[in-house]
Symmetry: C2
Subunit: 143 residues, 2 copies
């Protein structure tokens, strides 16, 4: 019998169902990537890091597909893109309201729960503009 979760469905079956719910055809590549991304805890990846990871796990997905998939997952609301570094894009599996610590030196992101932080005093945006989202990045350094 295949790996199974408490629900009785295999992980793959769960992932497949999830992808379908989000309007994405469950291709082998998407299922495998989703398997890595959504299996456990919250994760922060770059296209490169995810590509390395899946390759080392013995699966074959092209880098172009990793890029495509990250964007499609983001579009679908399964991922959130985090902009903290001029050099590369991060994607976060936690799509809920939260913020980040960012350790630039090591390219590491750490979630800060949304309830923890509050931002007060944001002025009204200039006429014709509406607030889409407020991002807080707490840049940290090794002491």
């Amino acid at each position: 019998m295949a790996k199974a979760s408490r629900s009785g469905k295999s992980l793959t079956a769960q992932t497949t169902a999830r992808l379908r719910q989000f309007g994405l055809r469950p291709t082998r590549q998407r299922v495998e990537l989703a398997g890595l991304l959504f299996d456990d805890c919250d994760r922060h990846v770059t296209a490169e890091s995810l590509h390395d990871e899946i390759t080392k796990a013995g699966m074959k997905v092209s880098l172009a597909t990793v890029y495509n998939t990250l964007h499609q997952f983001t579009e679908a609301g399964l991922l959130r893109q985090v902009i903290v570094d001029a050099a590369r894009s991060y994607f976060d599996t936690n799509t809920g309201d939260h913020q980040h610590f960012f350790l630039e030196k090591e390219g590491m992101l750490i979630d800060i729960p949304g309830e923890a932080i509050s931002v007060a005093g944001v002025p009204n945006p200039p006429p014709g503009l509406t607030v889409d989202r407020v991002d807080v990045v707490v840049r940290v350094k090794r002491a």
Copy 2:
């Protein structure tokens, strides 16, 4: 007589002095770029936009020099780099404590005074890390 400010020094002389104060040799290129950047109000530029601007103003500075200069000015504390867009780097002539509205569609930044916004509840960073800076980006859209 050359353009002069209330101080009686020409703008160029002022700029030159300023660059020297910050440990930068006042070359023609740096003086010209500084002239555009620091003459009036607070500004947000990209390497490309600043290069276009100086070129259109009839001065000749290579794009590589614009990049070098933006980084040197940033290093010296005359500019601050703002990371809001995965596609390009912005530099802000306002180096004081403040935050930004960002209109992604148009690549436009608008300052929010530091006193206006307050961020409460930032947790202690993980052991061994210290907070370097807290950046707030208010992403806005055309209504």
